[in-house]
């Protein structure tokens, strides 16, 4: 039994196994790049599975659409890291032993070394060795009987160990981060809209880590001020920025607001959380004047359907005022849907957008009246009306028109719908990852360790001085690089020349 365990451990920690596991890891990671992934685009996964039939279902069951969360992917990297630990522990032990070890004694026959050089000099053996020691300053040296042995490049193994331990550290930090991180997205109106990181329900979308229940999010609030976007003449965006005010930490109790300019690539970092500006769009404002004279004004974000021209679609929904009977109310709900063109381009009466900036914006609206279906308890998209209601005849299109700012439509019952204004909205992301600082630190160690271990060479050099019968001294230099393909030749030649002093003799 013990023998079995020992053999398994040895097998697992051998280089050959590590190599196989590296290949497996590479192979297993690939589907994540080739197949749509749930974490990136769930809609695309659904479409993919639907198109492939049983084959898609099989892939879905095997986790090919969430590769990096599957047990088989985890199994590979856990095995790999076990193998790594098994390899590192004895190497570390060996490393500390070698740190204290003296350079090995000079071999009897130096001419057998891969690098060798010799000369007869008119000096005493002691003088020759002294010169050798001078030439090898900075090397770890050991003087023997008429010889000096020297070694250099221990930093290579140091770098190697630092690299591998940092890799372990990075994985552990990464895993811990997945436990305690969270990420949420929300759309906020510019020119005064506020958002507070108080709980999950403030978000449009929220992705918590495994140990996050959303009860203790970092408290902070932001208020979005003016949003500005710059475009080239062809509509390509050049820069976005939102002037915001925020309060966090003690500012929350003292109600102090601090200003910040939120830009792409320049998130707000506060109290360990980060706030990002992800995108923007437009919010048209409509005022509905009901037949009884009451007015309702609403502005809700519409969704850009063309990223280049920011032509946007959406649905602004109204309840009739003062109606308590839900039956009557549901017959008279109003939805203003259609297309918003920031800079209109008209082909006859067909409206489109030709530029993303606001420039006498227009809307092409379809006005619906009837039951919007918002009372049945199911959530519905804020960007569209429920088409089922239209199919069932419970919601009917009652008007269609292009409106410029300030223009209005009058419905058959006297209800007026006026297009008032267009404002900006911004989409924000809040991210929290308590371990990313550690990940960065380990990543830096990885680069340093790698750089050192791949550039430093571990090499040895030996010098032997023998007195000859004619009174001269035979000085031999031998060299050996302990790492493969080290390119030690040039350095050795230089050293040997210094020791043998060929220039003078």
């Amino acid at each position: 039994m013990i023998a079995f365990l020992r053999n398994t451990w040895r097998g697992l920690t051998s280089m050959r196994t590590a190599l196989t596991l590296l290949f497996l890891l590479a192979l297993a990671a690939m589907p994540g790049a080739l197949l749509p992934q749930l974490s990136l685009n769930a809609a695309k996964v659904d479409e993919y599975v639907a198109q492939r039939g049983w084959w898609g279902q099989l892939l879905l069951k095997l986790g090919f659409f969430e590769v990096y969360a599957t047990p088989w992917f985890a199994a590979i990297y856990l095995l790999l890291f076990t193998s790594l630990v098994g390899c590192l522990l004895p190497r570390t032990w060996e490393y500390f032993k070698q740190m204290r070890a003296k350079p090995v004694l000079t071999p009897r026959n130096l001419s057998r070394m891969p690098h060798h050089s010799q000369a007869e000099l008119d000096v005493t053996p002691d003088e020759a060795l002294a010169r050798a020691k001078k030439a090898m300053r900075g090397w770890r040296m050991e003087t023997g009987e008429g010889t000096v042995s020297a070694e250099r490049g221990f930093l290579r193994e140091t770098g190697n160990l630092v690299f591998h331990f940092a890799l372990l550290g990075l994985l552990v930090s990464f895993a811990l981060g997945k436990m305690f991180n969270y990420e949420g997205q929300v759309i906020v109106q510019a020119d005064g809209g506020q958002f507070c990181n108080g709980g999950i329900f403030n978000y449009d979308q929220f992705r918590p880590g495994l140990r996050v229940d959303g009860t203790d999010l970092t408290p902070f609030c932001v208020e979005i001020g003016k949003f500005t976007a710059d475009y080239l003449d062809n509509g390509q965006p050049v820069g976005y920025q939102a002037d915001i005010r925020y309060q966090s930490g003690d500012d929350l109790t003292s109600n102090t607001w601090k200003p910040y300019t939120l830009q792409v690539n320049h998130p707000l970092r506060t109290e360990g959380d980060r706030l990002y500006l992800l995108g923007h769009g437009y919010t048209p404002t409509f005022t509905v004047t009901f037949p009884n004279g009451e007015k309702r004004t609403q502005g809700i974000q519409w969704l850009p359907t063309n990223q280049l021209t920011l032509a946007s679609e959406g649905a602004t929904k109204f309840d009739p005022p003062g109606v308590t009977d839900s039956e009557t109310r549901r017959k008279n709900q109003i939805a203003v849907t259609g297309l918003l063109a920031p800079t209109p381009l008209l082909h006859g009466s067909i409206l489109n957008s030709k530029f993303p900036a606001l420039n006498n914006p227009m809307v092409a609206v379809d006005v619906y009246r009837g039951d919007l279906g918002v009372d049945d308890g199911r959530g519905q998209s804020i960007f569209s009306i429920d088409q089922k209601m239209v199919e069932q005849g419970r919601l009917a299109k009652v008007a269609r028109k292009n409106l410029a700012l300030g223009e209005e439509i009058v419905l058959d019952d006297g209800t007026k719908v006026r297009f008032d204004a267009v404002n900006d909205w911004v989409s924000l992301q809040v991210s929290h990852d308590p371990t990313q600082g550690y990940v960065l630190a380990f990543a830096i160690l990885i680069i340093l360790g790698l750089g050192v271990s791949l550039t430093v060479k571990r090499r040895r050099v030996w010098v032997r001085a023998t007195r000859l019968e004619d009174g001269r001294t035979l000085v031999e230099v031998g060299g050996l690089a302990r790492t493969d393909q080290a390119g030690y030749g040039e350095e050795f030649t230089r050293l040997a020349r210094a020791v043998l002093n060929e220039e003078k003799s």
Partner: protein, 303 residues
């Protein structure tokens, strides 16, 4: 920021000239490779000095002179190539690696420069045709299919990280092209040394592959990490398994496997060479397939 059209035009001219000069260099190299005699004795062994001692001038054969012209043409091409990148950058007022055309151009320049350095260190000048041909293909594709007018980049790319991350990744990928090619040559030579008498010894080819990979790999690692730092500032997370990130990770693992393979009995030599080729193939895949076919956050770096 307006684009300086004149400089952009100069940049395009220089790009085409560089391409032409490289093509000429390939022809010269090919002539040398075709007409040179196979070396009678083996190349310098493992422990010997790497420096090629040139024969005295009078003994230079005609083929050798042609080879030297090829090398000179390569250097000239690299200078023109560099000029084209500099002009591009000046015309757009930003680092000249903001779209796929420019990225490929920088990548190829890095590969050419690596090759010039290797030529100075190893007696391998005649292989120029093998190395420059894939570079020429990439440059040609870049200048035709992937060509993009000089223009400013979108907001997400307006960051000094564009300068750092993209250049490091591009340069290291370019450097990794060379061991990809020499590994293929290694396999040929190792399979049948007699059939390819004019190729350098398998040992020299192996050593070239290793030395270049060992320089490029830490750079590539740094490039990925720099990308992660940028992603944290731009996209809200440092790692998100975006297709480009994933394939970069996979090729990193493959190059790590290459380094381990060289220390593993049974994998040295041929096994390692195959792994290096696989790593390079993945880089090419990442450049073309991931940019052009799949859609991810890196897609806008495309055309």
């Amino acid at each position: 920021m307006p684009v300086d059209e004149t400089l952009a035009t100069y940049s395009d001219w220089l790009y085409r000239s560089a391409l032409g000069v490289y093509l000429f260099a390939v022809l010269l190299y090919a002539v040398e490779q075709a007409f040179a005699r196979a070396p009678r004795k083996a190349m310098a062994g493992a422990g010997g000095p790497d420096i090629l001692t040139d024969a005295p001038k009078s003994e230079l054969t005609r083929t050798e002179r042609i080879g030297r012209m090829g090398a000179a043409m390569t250097v000239l091409g690299a200078v023109l190539h560099l000029g084209s990148l500099v002009m591009r950058g000046l015309s757009a007022g930003r680092a000249p690696w903001g779209n796929m055309y420019e990225y490929m151009s920088l990548l190829c320049l890095a590969a050419v420069v690596t090759w010039i350095v290797l030529m100075a260190k190893f007696p391998i000048r005649r292989l120029g045709a093998f190395v420059l041909t894939p570079i020429l293909v990439l440059l040609f594709l870049g200048g035709t299919v992937l060509y993009a007018e000089s223009a400013p980049v979108q907001p997400a790319l307006r960051s000094y990280w564009l300068v750092i991350h993209v250049s490091v990744i591009s340069i290291s990928s370019g450097m990794l092209l060379i061991p990809g090619v020499t590994s293929i040559l290694y396999l040929l030579k190792d399979t049948n040394s007699d059939r390819f008498p004019k190729l350098p010894s398998a040992d020299v080819l192996d050593r070239m592959s290793y030395r270049t990979t060992v320089l490029a790999f830490p750079l590539f690692t740094a490039g990925i990490i720099l990308g992660a730092i940028w992603a944290e500032a731009a996209w809200g997370r440092f790692w998100g398994w975006d297709p480009k990130e994933t394939v970069a990770f996979v090729s990193w693992v493959v190059y790590a496997a290459y380094l381990h393979a060289r220390a593993t009995a049974g994998w040295r030599g041929r096994g390692a060479a195959w792994i290096n080729i696989a790593g390079f193939a993945l880089n090419v895949f990442n450049l073309f397939f991931i940019n052009l076919v799949t859609s991810g956050l890196h897609s806008y770096a495309g055309l």
